[in-house]
């Protein structure tokens, strides 16, 4: 099929459609809503043979999704931000049920203050839920990742649910050319869902999510989840090879950009990595030997791939689009833990916080990141967390504060 221009949201809906899902419980929330609107239309029109149900909350939506998956249906659903957090306890139930559904999260910053634009505090809050996480940079990758997500989730070695993340606004509402995979080819890549260990039926009763008493059985089942999650690294490798063979596009757990001779490396995730890559090009043109490492798979954490990519570098900067107040960047912590045991670890690790709630990441911001990271690499002393905030932002905020205080009218 030819490429079509479509938003990240529509690409996500196409992912579910091509995966030939059976069931879609839904609940609207900005900026995700376009996904379930598209799916509702297709279910109604017969383009997709799935049952679409509007639920009473995300908590109910995720419960219905997990329960249907546990019954043996292939399930898709989507949410954002407050919705993800409202459903939070159910995420842990679904992974505990080992129900391999796919949930798309369209990242949006969390209240309070209530806002609409993107950062990653929502999806990263779910990092310990047992869901696998794939974070996409482009609309094409959103669609492709959903197909890969089902294949990985449903693998008998994994049997865990997956969150595919895309950034609200910057990707959800951005149109990019997307090549729609041929449905016949998709069927070769993603076999029908016929789980051996799930399902409720009269002839084969099954108890799921039963209580356990004491730590011995609890720890056993939790260990099982961890080991299954780790298995997903190998299963992802196989899926990526098969996907490339069928569709000509290659996705690894991490993606390197101009890494070959890079002294210093910037680590990012999601759609803003595109901005980061452009900043790398600018810095390269200025003669700086910098590159970018994009983390695509967040769970399981691709520690080996990260170490391989960063071994022997001078300095590494992690740009977190999230903030754990009182701690700093969430991904920075995990990067630091991965690199500690690397003998040839970078001389300096730097932590930057930016892009919160859709905050702009300017050329100047990247310039400062590369400058400070290079300096840290020379001195061998890491910095951070650095909270990125430009003078222009500061001026704008000062004016907003004066307006809020009633002392001036806002300039227009």
């Amino acid at each position: 099929m030819d490429s079509q221009m479509m938003t990240g949201n529509l690409a996500a809906a196409w992912g579910a459609r091509l995966a030939d899902v059976d069931y879609i419980p839904a609940f609207p929330i900005t900026p995700q809503t376009e996904i379930v609107e598209a799916l509702a239309k297709w279910c109604e029109g017969g383009e997709l043979a799935a049952r679409f149900v509007t639920m009473d909350s995300e908590h109910s939506m995720m419960t219905a999704a997990g329960a249907a998956e546990a019954t043996g249906a292939r399930v898709f659903t989507a949410t954002s931000s407050q919705g993800l957090l409202y459903a939070f306890e159910v995420l842990y139930s679904i992974s505990g049920w080992r129900a391999p559904l796919v949930l798309v999260n369209v990242s949006r910053a969390l209240a309070a203050p209530i806002t609409l634009e993107s950062d990653h505090n929502d999806v990263l809050a779910a990092r310990d839920s047992g869901f696998l996480q794939i974070h996409a940079e482009t609309c094409q990758e959103v669609l492709d990742s959903i197909l890969m997500a089902y294949r990985i989730a449903e693998d008998e070695r994994v049997m865990l649910p997956v969150i595919v993340n895309l950034d609200g606004f910057s990707l959800s509402f951005t149109r990019e050319p997307v090549s729609l995979p041929d449905p016949e080819q998709v069927r070769k890549f993603l076999p029908p869902f016929r789980p051996a260990h799930l399902g409720f039926r009269a002839s084969a009763p099954h108890s799921l999510g039963v209580a356990v008493i004491g730590g011995t059985p609890y720890a056993y089942f939790r260990h099982q989840m961890h080991l299954a999650s780790i298995n997903a690294l190998e299963v992802h490798r196989e899926a990526a090879a098969s996907f490339e063979q069928l569709f000509g596009r290659r996705y690894d757990v991490v993606e390197g950009y101009r890494l070959d001779d890079a002294e210093d490396v910037l680590v990012m995730t999601n759609a803003c990595s595109s901005t980061g890559k452009a900043a790398v090009d600018v810095a390269r043109a200025e003669g700086k030997r910098v590159g970018l490492l994009r983390l695509r798979m967040i769970r399981p954490w691709p520690a080996d791939a990260i170490r391989d990519a960063l071994r022997g570098r001078r300095a590494v900067a992690v740009l977190d689009q999230n903030l754990a107040p009182g701690q700093g960047g969430i991904l920075f912590q995990e990067m630091a833990a991965s690199l500690y045991h690397e003998v040839e670890r970078p001389r300096a690790l730097c932590s930057f916080i930016g892009g919160l709630g859709g905050q702009n990441l300017s050329v100047g911001a990247f310039h400062a990141i590369f400058e400070q990271t290079a300096k840290a690499g020379v001195s061998g002393k890491g910095i951070g967390p650095v909270l990125l905030y430009t003078q222009a932002e500061h001026r704008e905020m000062t004016q907003l504060q004066m307006v809020a205080a009633g002392s001036v009218k806002r300039e227009t």
Binding site: P25, M55, D56, A64, A73, R194, F200, R201, G209
Partner: protein, 312 residues
Amino acid sequence: MWQRETFKKIKQVPGEEHVLPGSALCAGCGGLESLRLATKVLGDEVVYVNAAGCFTMLAAYPYTSFKGSWLYTTMGSAPAGAQGVRDALDVLIAKGRLPKSDNLKVVVLGGDGSTYDMALSSTSGAMHRGLDFYYFCYDNEAYGNTGMQLSPATPYGARTATSPCSLQHPSGAAQEKKDIFEIWRAHKPPYIATVAPRYPLDLEEKFARAAAFTGPKMFLALAACPTGWLYDPGETPEVAKLAVETGLWPLKEAIDGVVTHTYVPKRKPVEAYLKLQGRFRHLFEPIVQTEAIQHIQARVDAYWERATREGS
């Protein structure tokens, strides 16, 4: 006049058991007895979708009390779990991936804490969507599994761990029991019924009648609770009987919203019921709280006067 059609004599209640003995539930649990009786109509081809509550312990690894299936969900979303299971079964059958003979009834199990408050949104949603399922609420009028704290089902005058009787509140619980039957009825499900374990024929008949309806079939079961209500486990039948005979626990059904009382008691004074239970002992000792007891009696009388007036 409401008449039983299927279950006229106790001999007609099937002997086969579907809730197997040996669970971790308390001796004398009125909720479990109600469920045991219900399953004589429901059978084994059931998937129970459980909300957090006392019944959670019916399936505790590696055991289960059921020959049927079980899914533990959360305290607030068991009806949504039922939606997912029902929809998936329907889709799989329609797509030919599950033989019709493998179909199951979907039965939500929830205590009053879940039913009356936390799961109200998901229950309302399931009824609004016309989900074809059974809802079985075992109502022991408090958060029982956590040790008897005040719930929205706790009646006026009951002492719980979080509604102690004190100088400020000598009667214990100061608010009235929430009327979940009427909240359900406002949603117009095809079938709603209250049941009590001491009235097995009434209970069996209601489950048999409910089976004819597609859509939400809502059951509110009196779960007389020796552990929480503070009486000897052997007295559960007597407590359940007096709950009904005093008129405090009306046995009724609503078909498409039309209410019929299935048993009209002669209405013994409420003291007969209250006196049996430690949770009401403060109404009688060290001094008799006449006003509080009269208040309870007046509420019951008003209920039945309205029922008589409305001819239900």
